[in-house]
Symmetry: C2
Subunit: 805 residues, 2 copies
């Protein structure tokens, strides 16, 4: 970031305000080098952006109003949001001025994503739009195409979207603007993210918590976020909370969040231009002073209070619109059929004086074009906003060096995530500014503490003697908010870096809806040629449903897998490595992959190991396969025992051993599934198994007892088209859990070894009387296990310590 060119100037602070009435002008700022001409030009640029915004919402044709506005010039369906747009355009124009004056490396995060027309307009004014979309040139035909495509079938969304150059933040679900901005500037010391926070969005939980992101920002090695809280006062149909508390209370809140607030308030353009220019200068001066601090500085925040739908129709049909929630979407409805509204629209558009803004060819006039930055300095073309373009590959250590020795399967134990921690440590070591691990206070709990051998937890709040592993530039980000972890990581990935999010399995549902939005981004950008692929979003879920020893029922939920699998097949991958070496292999694969959502579920407790590293790699590469050593047949089996997940695999193997002992003639095949998507047909998912291969594994007609980590119906859902589906019997989690022991937990859900054997007996018709007695013995064994647990408070050691040996 460059040092300021201008000396600091005086600015309004909150304390000078006396509860300004909304829309009131509150005096002008002293201007230094800003001449009236400068601000007149800036105003003209703002008018151009506003004109293009309204044009996109309304016009099919006659883009510069070179002829009177006729019904056929207006779109039949008026879709889009005007209310927030003029404020976004205002900030964009002022940022352009600052970027040029200070040669800033800046991007623009649009919290009020409804303002799609504004961000598209600005990208167009800067020339970026025409560079990436050849059909939208800088001429009359281009303007016409620009307007027509907006919120039009086959065109572009009405929100800020992946299609919008310069965006890393889609308009959709609100609440994540600040998080994306912070994620973007982490490890980008020269980058400034201007982040507009809408006063609607500010009411969301994630946004409210994300103000505290500044406690994690390193003033030296990270860039800076300049938040602008835009109080236009209204949401869809309600006032906003933050616009309806006294200014001193709002200032106190922002100070409490660790910011220095600056207020800009008004509804008269000239006065607001002067105030905003001075305030932005001051904020950027402060940032230049604070940058590099060793302590957390009170970073500036700007509060901008301007009318909703500013410069739009003041009244429509006798009802006040500008400055109220009625300006939220389309202020003038039915302009094709209502001549009065159409006349008002024409007056509104002509009020921006397009004839002064665009030349005869429809091109922005040169003196305005000169106001925009050029090349990569344009916020719509900043390379960080097209993360794949600046992505540096991870330098991957050799995961095989972390392999655990597995002389015989299912005899030795290892803590899978603990070993993974050492591998991740090496990833961090090799990629000191390009890889982050996020965790909601669960990195150590999930046994990844080896990370702290080479890095700390990123931390810029106060420290006390005795603190462990805190560091301003730590590679681990821990905060008790899955929303913050997810949002920061998204911002980091979207700007071309790599990362991993580790969480308790049950509580990852907190970010279900954030995952939706990111998966939609990935799906959409895959089809946008100028968007380069990103690093994958990687989840490591541990402390899973089967091992909530300290916690119990409220901490049990494997449904994130169901949620993820609803997303587009080309985006999502789900892995259930059964042991340590398979976890290493899967993790290596995921960290190298691009543009996916990878979900890995793995246990953190000491657990049996099954495969040495060569076998693990082969097994993970196939994604599923027969474990010959665990079965009793090389040919066609009588029954297939399938399993996915560490605990189900353990119980399946124990069941296989019981069957081997008690029913030695029964031909049993054991199939383990690592890559869940292999179960789907290849017509449904790129990893899907062709029917022929599926049938070869699971047979066409033999009973399959499938022990699954998650809800059992997910397996049915993935396999319902398979020939043998009617013979598939799935055991999984069925919402039966309490505070209990590991084995009691599987018993509660009928997924224990004894029950699996009973399932086999129930479903292999050829088994006779001997099986009936075995069935009774299994039922007795379950009862004995239950009684032992209830009496002693722990599992029978013979069960807890079971091995294949």
């Amino acid at each position: 970031m460059h040092a300021p060119d201008l000396p600091p100037v005086a600015s309004a602070t909150a304390l000078e305000f006396r509860t300004p009435v909304i829309g009131a002008s509150v005096g002008t700022m002293p201007s230094t080098e800003r001449t009236a001409d400068d601000l007149d030009l800036l105003d003209a640029y703002w008018r151009a952006a506003n004109y293009l915004s309204v044009g996109q919402i309304y016009l099919l044709d006659n883009p510069l109003l070179r002829e009177p506005l006729l019904p056929g010039h207006v779109k039949p369906r008026l879709l889009g949001h005007w209310g927030t747009t003029p404020g976004l355009n205002l900030l964009y124009a002022h940022m352009n001025r600052a970027i040029r004056q200070r040669d800033l490396n800046a991007l623009y995060v649009t919290g009020p994503g409804h303002g799609g027309p504004g961000l598209v307009a600005n990208a167009y004014l800067e020339g970026t739009y025409s560079e990436v979309y050849s059909g939208i040139g800088e001429d009359l035909a281009g303007l016409r195409a620009l307007f027509r495509q907006f919120s039009f079938p086959g065109g572009i969304p009405s929100h800020v979207a992946p299609e919008t150059p310069g965006s890393i933040h889609e308009g959709g679900e609100l609440g994540y603007a600040l998080l994306h901005a912070y994620g973007a500037v982490f490890d980008n010391p020269d980058l400034l993210a201007l982040c507009v926070v809408g006063d609607g969005e500010a009411e969301t939980g994630p946004l409210a918590a994300s103000w505290h992101s500044n406690k994690f920002l390193d003033p030296t090695r990270d860039g800076v976020v300049l938040p602008v809280l835009h109080l236009n006062g209204y949401k869809i149909a309600n006032p906003t909370v933050l616009s309806r508390i006294p200014d001193d209370e709002l200032a106190s809140l922002l100070r409490g969040y660790g910011h220095t607030p600056h207020f800009v308030v008004g509804d008269e353009p000239k006065a607001v231009h002067e105030q905003l220019a001075a305030t932005l200068d001051r904020a950027l001066d402060e940032i230049a002073e604070m940058k590099g601090s060793t302590r957390r500085p009170p970073w500036p925040v700007i509060v901008l209070r301007t009318p909703k739908g500013w410069t739009g129709p003041r009244e429509v049909d006798g009802k006040r619109v500008e400055g109220t929630f009625h300006a939220h979407q389309v202020p003038l409805p039915a302009t094709r059929t209502d001549a009065g509204h159409r006349a008002q629209l024409e007056e509104w558009l002509r009020g921006y004086r397009p004839e002064e803004l665009f030349d005869d060819d429809g091109r922005l006039v040169p003196e305005l074009r000169a106001l925009a930055p050029t090349g990569d300095r344009r916020m719509s073309a900043n390379p960080h906003t097209n993360g794949g373009r600046v992505l540096r590959e991870l330098k991957m250590p050799d995961f095989r060096e972390h392999a655990v020795t597995v002389a015989r399967p299912a005899v030795e134990s290892s803590e899978a995530t603990k070993v993974l921690g050492a591998f991740l440590r090496d990833v961090v070591r090799g990629n000191p500014d390009n890889f982050l691990v996020m965790g909601p206070d669960e990195v150590a709990s999930n046994r990844l503490s080896a990370l702290f051998e080479v890095t700390g937890r990123k931390w810029q709040a106060d420290t006390v003697p005795g603190d462990e592993h805190l560091a301003p530039d730590g590679r681990v980000l821990e905060v008790l908010s899955e929303h913050l972890c997810q949002g920061w990581l998204e911002g980091y990935l979207l700007t071309g870096r790599h990362g991993l999010f580790t969480s308790y399995e049950a509580f990852i549902h907190i970010v279900d809806s954030m995952l939706n939005q990111h998966a939609k981004w990935l799906k959409t950008t895959r089809a946008i040629p100028w968007r380069a692929p990103l690093a994958s979003l990687n989840y490591l879920l541990s402390s899973h449903v089967w091992r909530q020893d300290h916690n119990g029922f409220s901490h049990q939920d494997p449904g994130f897998l169901d949620h993820v699998v609803n997303k587009k097949a080309e985006i999502v991958r789900v892995y259930l490595p059964p042991d340590t070496n398979t976890l290493l292999s899967v993790a290596d694969h995921c960290l190298r992959s691009k543009h996916y959502v990878n979900v890995i579920v793995a246990g953190k407790q000491p657990a049996l190991t099954y495969l040495d590293m060569p076998d693990a790699i082969a097994h993970c590469t196939r994604g599923l396969g027969i474990w010959d050593w665990a079965g009793t047949t090389e040919g066609e089996p009588d029954v297939v025992l399938a399993c996915a997940g560490d605990i189900p695999t353990l119980e399946t193997l124990a069941a296989a051993k019981l069957l081997r002992e008690h029913l030695p003639d029964l031909k049993v095949r054991v199939v383990n599934v690592v890559d869940l998507m292999r179960l789907q047909p290849d017509t449904e998912h790129p990893h899907g198994l062709p029917d022929r291969d599926f049938d070869a594994l699971f047979t066409e007609d033999k009973p399959v007892i499938f022990a699954f980590h998650g809800y059992p119906w997910l397996i049915h859902r993935l396999t319902y088209r398979r020939a043998n589906h009617l013979n598939l019997h799935v055991r999984g989690y069925k919402e039966e859990g309490t505070t209990t022991t590991p084995f009691d937990m599987v018993m509660l859900n009928d997924l224990d070894r004894f029950h699996l054997v009973m399932d086999v007996i129930d479903r292999v018709p050829s088994l006779g009387g001997a099986a009936a007695s075995l069935r009774q013995r299994m039922a007795d064994a379950r009862l004995a296990a239950l009684q032992h647990t209830r009496e002693y408070g722990e599992d029978d050691p013979a069960i807890a310590g079971w091995t294949w040996a």
Copy 2:
């Protein structure tokens, strides 16, 4: 709430603090009527609660240490959380004193849900525990049972749980304590909720946003929440953000949230008792003064900074534990096998001087028992915490009065949710203090504006001229946070009231994990005899996946249904009423129901009506059924067209009409599904249809083309065990959407009428050459529809205006 008995006393405020070092004592408060003896007794009560808490975590036997502690007295698995518990016990003891002095009607919301042992201990000390659990008496045997059951197989969870008397807030996912507290006090003007907010929880989004709940609290008609922000400084393995910012910044934050902060800081019990007693008195005095204000008052908040794991082991194995995150769970591990740890445990326990606290029989000594409130004044027995006990039935208006006339099916139009709005208006009118509607700024957008004919939006922030429908006691709560809506409603329901949450379908995923926790609460309490059933949690999802005209792809997601259906069958119900009268009937049913999660999905756009009210009631009562008028056969059909959801129903009917016109000999049956759970077998869900009935509707062997509102595989998941499942072809949402028109949207997902006809042709083998040519015509019609849309920006009027006529 009673007026204060004591005059206000001086108290520390934040500004008198100079960044106290954690654990430092910061001077005592002047005491007024509190004598040293009073506080000595209070300290003894605290010691009793702490003793019982440690006992629960560690002891199997020898509950009062009447003999030396032996290995067999200690639990084999030590599960639970000590760290937060002493702070919770401290506040509980001080609240008891205040309740008795002021005859307060109070409940205790435990944000740090890990503190299960503390809340159980206090319920036991007050006698409530023994009243509801006859096996846990107030004697030595009862103490032994109390200790043994804690976090023990077959016993109780380690967290605050439904099993804990006095709890409305389960220890699980963090972030909802303040929301539950506010929900509890809405419309309970005499109720005080003491709400402990952990400094870990305070980092979550929902908690951060929920401080603003005070902008919605009516000081006259609602009760009061007294938040206590408990800074013990650490989470599982990290410091907390709010404990590591300067006190003046924290005070500024809390003032910005609209509170008056009071700090209590220390690690010396006597001094903290004095400070806390004085501060609690002062806060309660302030509340008594502020109660009834016409403007929003600066409600007090207490910041309590005491060591984590206070009074526990100071050091273990040479490592500092008390006052660090090492005190989070079980400070002394392996006490059964490690004699040194066991000795330290015994010393720790004896340090509470149990011999002074419990008599020979193991009963709390009378002078301590006298410190607890009695009867319903006990926080563990407050009737509001067992909501079903105080639940008043809704006075239901007759929904049939809102019926729309349906002379012929599929000819006239109506806006379903708009009509529902009028019904809800009447519900509000009849239940002015017992029913709330929650919406994230979407009540008007979802067309429920008739509500505002009789009530306003609950609002206690500032107002300006021109505001519409804001009122301190409004029955509609709108804030742009699904978390806040959900949390408030949960608190309101848990304390025995009724409500409805209306949201956009896509963004209801924001509360996926909150739904999990509430569903778990419902499932668990169903099996607890002393917990009375609650009113159901009702969702009305509108602005659904098929009609995101203004928004597009980022606003499309029907997956909440999948998520809900993962929960326990006896709890969840999903309804997809196809038109206005069915929506009314379903809504009436849901509002009357108990202890369910009801999800209703309904469109808000003008749409065709199909059933008059008697037919609608009959159809909804059956949950699904054949629509004879739409089919072409009374006997066995050649093909079944099934549908669930308003848009799929429309497309199915249009397809049926096309088939009737073009293939008049084809025997078509149309089945509409309202109650999704009817599709499951009766062995899986209480609403499930027996196979015989299912087969009678869907046949055993004929093709079924099922047009579904959500992801198609949900239908497969619900029906995979049915005889005819292999012939079931489901069309639904498959993540294909963009900014488009309604008909283009169904085309993108192959759910349009033309494609459904093509599906029939593809799957009814007996159709010959005529069908092949019809197939081509259908493909042509799709292409024409697509071209029309792309050219004109709207659907062909013949398609958009289709009726059965």
